[in-house]
Symmetry: C2
Subunit: 321 residues, 2 copies
């Protein structure tokens, strides 16, 4: 009996039918659970070979698991705890279906910052007809993307279509990719920061990326630069960010991720100058297209799994991505 | 003596030097005035053959004018009053340098509406960590642009790069243009509205466009559609817009232009549901790139004028654009 356990919040009839059709055609039996049915899913998990979910407790309960496909992109929660996978050889893949939605979020907050939208909104809320403020534009600005994965590529395509002066990605290898004007290795990060108008962070949460945007590196950014983070909050020094915003060294920032989440009542981030905060929603499953892609990717990967082929989005639990 | 009068708010040393160089190379003499120096400009205007400004009083004062280049895109203020131009044969051109900046504004407010940013912002302002709201995306949405000019083309390029399902322009002629998936004539407007997720209005203010988005036409838009106006406020029925927003028929709207401006204290627009208001700033001269393009266009046109060639952006004062 080859069982698949699917436990997700976006299981429409169509999506279940698509997964069931693929599973049955490949000789699998599949059961679906909503997040509210976690107890039933936990009871079924030990009988399963494949798990498609985003719940560490289900991974822990699935003692006979051979492949876990995580419905989320960020998988740091699954790499910290070595005891999570009973089978050390269990295949582990993540979901790279968030590029479009996160890229739209990045374009949105970039334009809000460059065009000073929060200031206009706050004036209009007081019925005050503000005179035009000096603004900047994506066209002609220099962008640096920390992270050259699926999200970075989707962001870069949009920035280039909007005539950014240059879109440089920073990756571990520095290997060129056609979606970027240039890719530089992480060892050159300090050289690119002084030539960056907008820094976009889309990094996985790993030991290597923690604190990568330090106080010293923020100081390397030019006066008025903007910082956007859609990866993991731990990648930056939040105290240094507040200082850089409040002193005016940075022109603005937009955080969709922070530490901790939700942000505590007394966090200085709430009142930092020119900071746009969103509650970790840039890549949530609230956009139907993201969920459709997620299901398609799982079905594609299930074909590969059944055929013994290399899966898409394999995660190395040691490096954490 | 061939005099040029330039009266603008964005005259840097470089921009003046560029204009002066072109003017002198063509045998013109040029004088520059800030908006604060209107009185001096008015005194100089009667001696001028060419005027580069955005002030109807200067046009009226320039009794010997042969060419007025308006620094603004919208020229309705110059077409209403037939007595404005002393010389009925005076050439009249407008400034089509606003495409990039207005397109960035349109992308910004489109994403704010589709991704429900005002709701997240208002929750975050109360330190309330909102759960993900259902959102929509530019990708896969159907856009209709009322107006197929410079602004419409810049908007369309960006929407298509962001994978819009379709970008249709509506123009008087319906003549195809490569930047749009389709161009339909204005006579077909009522057919395209029911298939429109986001309606973007970038129309000149003329007798023909006044009230074009009537209550009846708003009702033709599908439930949840969004409306954006960056052209002229008079193009829509504002009372009907408030009703359509407050009843939830429309999912949201963003107005950068309205009637009158500034909006009076007691306007129902201030409190309409899901309405983003900005104080007519989408295409102002607060972006240096816009001003650079504006000066380049004037210099290019001055060459054409001196050579007796057809000018770029000629306005027909009868049709109003």
């Amino acid at each position: 009996m080859r069982n698949i356990c699917v436990c997700l919040e976006f299981l429409t009839e169509e999506r279940c039918a698509a997964i069931r059709k693929t599973a049955e055609s490949l000789g699998f039996s599949v059961r679906f659970f909503t997040l509210e049915q976690q107890a039933e899913a936990l009871a079924f998990a030990p009988d399963c070979e494949v798990l498609f979910a985003h719940d560490p407790e289900l991974v822990r309960a699935a003692a006979n698991l051979n492949w876990f496909h995580c419905a989320w992109a960020g998988v740091d929660a699954y790499c910290r705890d070595e005891s999570l996978f009973a089978n050390p050889a269990c295949l582990f893949t993540n979901n790279h279906s968030y590029g479009t939605t996160i890229a739209e979020h990045v374009i949105l907050v970039t334009l809000m910052l460059l065009r000073r939208m929060p200031e206009y909104q706050s004036a209009m809320a007081r019925k005050h007809w503000l005179s035009p403020l000096p603004i900047r534009s994506i066209r002609g600005s220099r962008f640096t993307l920390l992270g050259a994965g699926d999200i970075g590529r989707h962001v870069a395509r949009r920035l280039r279509a909007m005539e950014a002066a240059r879109v440089t990605a920073v990756s571990r290898s520095g290997r060129p990719q056609p979606d970027f004007d240039a890719v530089v290795p992480i060892t050159k990060l300090d050289d690119i920061l002084p030539e960056t108008d907008v820094l976009i962070m889309a990094l996985p949460g790993t030991a290597e990326t923690a604190g990568i945007l330090s106080r010293e590196r923020m100081a390397l950014l030019p006066e008025g630069a903007c910082v956007i983070n859609v990866g993991r909050g731990a990648a930056m020094d939040q105290t240094a960010l507040c200082d850089a915003l409040n002193t005016g060294h940075l022109g603005g920032a937009a955080l969709d991720v922070m530490v901790p989440e939700p942000l505590p009542e007394d966090s200085p981030l709430w009142s930092a100058k020119n900071l746009i905060l969103t509650p970790h929603v840039s890549g949530s499953t609230n956009l139907p297209y993201t969920c459709d892609l997620t299901v398609e990717l799982f079905c594609r990967n299930l074909h590969r799994y059944a055929a013994g082929e290399r899966l898409e989005g394999l995660v190395d639990r040691t490096s954490g991505y």
